[in-house]
C-alpha cells in the first residue's frame, strides 16, 4: 500500500552531485514518487563531500514531484582529529569507541537535520538512510530505529569494521543491499543483521547514443578508454593512472584515457598528453561517452554496486575492472561481459586485447546489456522496495503522525 510519507536521507542530493549512492537515492525518489508515493528527501546544502560547503540554499523545494528539504552543514573544527584517527583506522590501529566517536564527529555535522528528525520522525512511514559512512546517516539514522531502513552501500574498507556502526546496522528495522556480495560482507561483519534484502539498483537505458556527437563536442579523435566518477584515492584513481602509464610505456597502445567527474586528475607527466579531463558532464554526454569508448575502466576496490559498469554495458562497451572488488568481479563473472585484472601486467594485457581485437571485445561486451536489463531496471528494483516496505513496515503497525 502506497500510504504514508517516505523520507530519503542522503548526505548530498541534486542533479550535479557526483556519487553512486546519491544517484541511486535520487532515481529511487523519482521512481517512488512516480508510483504515487509521497516522497520527501532530507539532505544537506552541500554539493561536494570534501569541502561540504553549503552551495544550495536551505529550505524546501520541489524536484519533479519530490519534496526536498535542505539543511545547512556545519564544520566547526579544523578536522585534525578526523585526519589523525582516520589515518589510524587505515593503519589498522584499534581505536576505542570514544576515539571512533571523535573521528565521526570531528567532521561535517548537520544539527538542523538532526533536530528536524528528532521533532518529526514519526511523520514518516519509513526513513531511508544511505550511505552508512557519513555523519547524517550515522547520527540521524539512530533517531527512529524502528522505522529506519539503512541502505549502507557497504565496501570492504577499514571503516566498515568499526564498532561504532554496529547499532546502526544491527538496530535498524531493515537493510537494503545493492548486490549479493555486499550483503555477504555485511553478514560477515555483523552476524546479527536484522531483516535485509538485496534490492539492487536500477538503471534507465537511454533511448539512443550519439558517440560521434560526443567526439565532435569534445574534439576527441582516435580511440580512447573511459573512467567516469570521483577521481580520488578511495576509487583507486592514482593506481589506474600508474598502471595505464606503465602499459603505455611498455607497449604502444592506441588509447587516450578520457575521464569525467570530480576530483583532481593529476596524471603522471609521461601520460599527461593522453589524459583528457572533461570535468562534470551531463547525463546525455556521459551516456554518449560510454558508447564512444573502446572500454570502460573500473579501478575501484570499493564498490557496493558500480552503476558505471552497468552504464557501459548498456552502451555495449566492454568493462575492464579491478578484480579486487568482490562486487565488480561478481558482476563481470555473472554477466560474462567484463575483463578482470589483478595487477598492472594484467591491466596492460586487457588493454592490449581491446586494442588488438576490438571485434572480439565487442562480442564479449554484448552480453552486458541483457544482464543489466534483466536484473537492474527500476521497475524490478522498485517492486522489491515496495515489497519490503509492506513486509517490514506495514501501514497498520507504523503510526504516522501525518
Amino acid at each position: 500500500m502506497r500510504v504514508g510519507t517516505l523520507g530519503l536521507v542522503p548526505p548530498r542530493y541534486g542533479p550535479d552531485v557526483v556519487g553512486g549512492a546519491e544517484a541511486v537515492v535520487r532515481e529511487m525518489a523519482a521512481g517512488l514518487a512516480a508510483r504515487g508515493w509521497d516522497v520527501e528527501v532530507l539532505t544537506t546544502c552541500a554539493r561536494d563531500h570534501f569541502t561540504w560547503a553549503n552551495e544550495y540554499p536551505p529550505g524546501v523545494t520541489d524536484d519533479d514531484g519530490v519534496t526536498v528539504r535542505r539543511f545547512p552543514t556545519v564544520i566547526s573544527t579544523g578536522r585534525e582529529e578526523r585526519a589523525l584517527f582516520g589515518a589510524a583506522i587505515h593503519e589498522g590501529t584499534d581505536l576505542s569507541l570514544r576515539e571512533q566517536s571523535r573521528w565521526m564527529n570531528d567532521d561535517v555535522r548537520v544539527p538542523e537535520l538532526f533536530h528536524h528528525l528528532l521533532d518529526h520522525a514519526d511523520r514518516y512511514r519509513a526513513l531511508v538512510f544511505a550511505p552508512y559512512l557519513f555523519w547524517p546517516t550515522f547520527a540521524c539514522g539512530q533517531i527512529a530505529s524502528d522505522r529506519t531502513i539503512l541502505m549502507p552501500c557497504l565496501h570492504d574498507e577499514p571503516e566498515a569494521y568499526l564498532d561504532l556502526f554496529r547499532p546502526l546496522f544491527e538496530g535498524s528495522r531493515g537493510l537494503w543491499f545493492l548486490s549479493e556480495p555486499e550483503a555477504e560482507l555485511a553478514a560477515r561483519i555483523h552476524p546479527q543483521l536484522p531483516a535485509h534484502e538485496v534490492i539492487g539498483s536500477g538503471l534507465t537505458a537511454p533511448h539512443g547514443y550519439d558517440p560521434d556527437g560526443f567526439r565532435a563536442r569534445h574534439g576527441i579523435d582516435g580511440r580512447f578508454v573511459l573512467y567516469a566518477g570521483r577521481r580520488e584515492g578511495a576509487k583507486n584513481w592514482e593506481r589506474l593512472l600508474a598502471g595505464f602509464a606503465t602499459a603505455t610505456e611498455r607497449s604502444k597502445l592506441p588509447f587516450s584515457l578520457v575521464t569525467m567527474g570530480t576530483g583532481n586528475v593529476d596524471p603522471p607527466s609521461s601520460i599527461a598528453d593522453r589524459v583528457i579531463d572533461l570535468g562534470f558532464c551531463s547525463d546525455a554526454d556521459r551516456n554518449d561517452a560510454f558508447a564512444a569508448a573502446d572500454a570502460y575502466l573500473q579501478p575501484s576496490r570499493y564498490e557496493s554496486f558500480s552503476r558505471t559498469i552497468m552504464e557501459a554495458w548498456l552502451a555495449g562497451t566492454i568493462v575492464i575492472a579491478n578484480a579486487a572488488s568482490d562486487v565488480v568481479r561478481w558482476h563481470c563473472e555473472r554477466s560474462g561481459a567484463g575483463l578482470l585484472y589483478d595487477d598492472d601486467p594484467e591491466l596492460e594485457q586487457c588493454l592490449r586485447f581491446v586494442a588488438d581485437a576490438p571485434g572480439a571485445a565487442a562480442d564479449i561486451a554484448s552480453a552486458g546489456r541483457g544482464y543489466v536489463l534483466d536484473n537492474y531496471t527500476w521497475p524490478v528494483v522498485l517492486d522489491r522496495v515496495e515489497a519490503t516496505l509492506d513486509s517490514w513496515l506495514p501501514v497498520a503497525e507504523t503510526s504516522c503522525a501525518s
Binding site: 603505455t248 561481459a337 595487477d343 562480442d363
Partner: protein
C-alpha cells in the same frame, strides 16, 4: 649594453644553470656588460630568494638599472611547490611588475604549466597579462611556441624558437680513445651511455631493461651500458629510484652505474667516449644532453616525448615504447634488429578463453610464470601454471606499497608533511622497499609451489 640575467647558475648543478652560463659567455663575448642574479648563492653577481614572498618585488627594484633583462624561467624559481592560490596571485603580480618596469624583458621558458593561463579565474587573467607584458619570449621548439601562444594569448610575433644548443660549446677536445683511456672504458666495447640526473622521469631504468634484452654482446664485440649521474635533490622519491637503479645495474651483466657529481668537462668526456646515447625520458621539455650529443656527432636513441621530436637531428632515433627502444639499441649496435614479432592473435570465443590468455600473457610479461607456461609441454603443465596464477591472484590484488603523497588541502600542512617525509625517509624507505620485495617474493613462491592434491587440477 648592460644586461641582467636572472637564472640558476653554476656551481649549482642544474640544466638551466648549464644552459645559462653558456649564454652569458656568448653575450659577454659579444661585448655586452652582463651581470647575473641567481635565486641562491652561486657564481652569480647577485642573489635573491625569488620564491620568497617579497622576491619578485625586490627584483622589480633592480631591473630599471639595466638596458635588457633576460630571465631563464622555470616555475619553481618563483613559485614554491606548495604555493596556495593567493600566493600564486601575489607572485604573478610581482612578476607582472618586474616585466612592466624592465626596459627590455626577454624570458627563456624552460618549463611551464600551460593550464595556468586557461579559464576566467583571476590567476589565469593575471598570468595571461603577465606573459603579454614580455617583449620577447623564447622557447625551444615550434610546438611549444604554438602551445604558449594558445595558452596565454601571446601574439606569435612575440615568441621565438631558439635552437636549444645554439650557444653550446665543446668542453673537451679529447678523442674517443683518449676519453676511454681516462674513464677506464675498454677500447673494443660498444658503449651505450645514459647520462644526466638520476631521477625517475629520465627513465634510465628503461635503458637498463632494454639493454638486458639485447645482452652484453659477443666475446669479440662486447657491448656495455654506462649510466652516469647524480641525484639532484635529496628527495626521498629520488633516493628510492636510485636504489632501484642500483639493483637493476647490479643484476644486469654489462651495465655499470657511475654515481656522483660530474663536472662539465667530464660530462662531455663521457659523451665522447660513448658510441651512442640512450635517453628514454618519460617526460622532458627539451634536452641539453641531446644537444651535447649532436655537438660531438654521437647518435642518440630517445623516446618521443616533449619537444624531442623538434630537437631530433638525423642522428637521433625516436622511439615510442620499450620494444622500440630495444630495437633501436640493436640497430645502433649494428645487429640486425629482430623483426618485431607479429602480435599473436587473440583467441576468439568466450570470455573465459580470453581471460585465460590475458592472464598467461601478463604472467609472461612479469617474467616468472612465463617460464612455467612456456616450458609446460602438456596440459597438466599449463594447468599447474594456471593454478599458480589463481593462487597468487589475492596477493597480486594487493597493490605495491606506495607512501601517500605529502599533500594537504589545509594551508601549510603540505610543507609540514614534506618535512616529515624527508626527516623519516632514511627509516621508512628501506621498509617500503623491503615490503615490496617481500610481496614479489611471496607471489613468485606461491606461483612456483606445486598445487596440493586438493588443488591439483584434473
Amino acid at each position: 649594453m648592460r644586461i641582467l640575467m636572472v637564472t640558476p647558475y653554476p656551481p649549482v648543478r642544474d640544466g638551466i644553470a648549464n644552459y645559462a652560463v653558456q649564454e652569458v659567455k656568448h653575450l659577454r663575448a659579444q661585448g655586452h656588460d652582463v651581470e647575473v642574479l641567481s635565486p641562491e648563492p652561486s657564481a652569480a653577481h647577485h642573489h635573491l630568494e625569488l620564491d620568497h614572498r617579497r622576491g619578485p618585488l625586490a627584483l622589480a627594484k633592480r631591473v630599471r638599472e639595466y638596458d635588457r633583462v633576460i630571465i631563464q624561467f622555470h616555475p619553481d624559481m618563483f613559485f614554491p611547490p606548495d604555493a596556495t592560490g593567493a600566493r600564486r596571485i601575489e607572485t604573478t603580480l610581482g612578476l607582472l611588475t618586474v616585466f612592466r618596469l624592465a626596459r627590455q624583458i626577454e624570458v627563456r621558458v624552460h618549463e611551464i604549466n600551460y593550464e595556468l593561463g586557461r579559464g576566467p579565474s583571476l590567476l589565469a587573467r593575471l598570468t595571461r597579462s603577465m606573459w603579454r607584458s614580455v617583449d620577447q619570449i623564447c622557447v625551444h621548439t615550434e610546438a611549444e611556441r604554438q602551445r604558449f601562444a594558445d595558452a596565454f594569448g601571446v601574439p606569435l610575433s612575440h615568441i621565438e624558437v631558439a635552437h636549444h644548443g645554439q650557444t653550446f660549446i665543446r668542453r673537451t677536445e679529447a678523442t674517443r680513445e683518449e676519453a676511454r683511456a681516462r674513464l677506464g672504458i675498454p677500447h673494443e666495447a660498444f658503449m651505450f651511455l645514459s647520462i644526466g640526473f638520476l631521477q625517475p622521469h629520465k627513465g634510465f631504468d628503461r635503458a637498463i631493461r632494454a639493454f638486458a634484452r639485447i645482452g652484453p654482446g659477443a666475446p669479440d664485440r662486447p657491448c656495455r651500458l654506462d649510466v652516469v649521474g647524480s641525484v639532484r635533490l635529496e628527495d626521498p622519491d629520488y633516493l628510492v629510484y636510485l636504489e632501484e637503479l642500483r639493483d637493476l645495474a647490479g643484476s644486469t651483466r654489462g651495465v655499470e652505474l657511475h654515481e656522483g657529481y660530474v663536472g662539465d668537462e667530464t660530462f662531455d668526456l663521457w659523451i665522447v667516449a660513448a658510441d651512442a646515447l640512450v635517453l628514454p625520458y618519460r617526460f622532458i621539455w627539451s634536452s641539453g644532453v641531446v644537444e651535447r650529443a649532436h655537438l660531438y656527432g654521437r647518435p642518440v636513441v630517445a623516446t618521443r616525448v616533449g619537444g624531442l621530436a623538434d630537437q631530433a637531428d638525423p642522428g637521433t632515433l625516436l622511439v615510442d615504447d620499450d620494444d622500440e627502444l630495444a630495437a633501436g639499441m640493436r640497430s645502433l649496435l649494428g645487429v640486425p634488429a629482430a623483426p618485431r614479432p607479429p602480435a599473436a592473435p587473440w583467441p576468439g570465443g568466450d570470455r573465459e578463453t580470453v581471460m585465460a590468455e590475458i592472464r598467461a600473457r601478463a604472467a609472461a610479461s612479469r617474467g616468472f610464470a612465463d617460464r612455467t607456461l612456456a616450458t609446460a609441454p602438456a596440459r597438466n603443465g599449463r594447468g599447474r601454471a594456471a593454478a599458480g596464477l589463481a593462487s597468487s591472484a589475492p596477493l597480486r590484488r594487493v597493490p605495491p606499497l606506495v607512501l601517500p603523497s605529502p599533500v594537504s588541502a589545509r594551508p601549510g600542512v603540505s610543507s609540514v608533511k614534506r618535512l616529515i617525509r624527508r626527516l623519516t625517509a632514511w627509516e621508512v624507505d628501506p621498509l617500503v622497499t623491503q615490503v615490496n620485495r617481500l610481496r614479489e617474493a611471496v607471489i613468485q613462491s606461491v606461483e612456483s609451489t606445486p598445487p596440493t592434491d586438493r588443488e591439483r587440477p584434473d
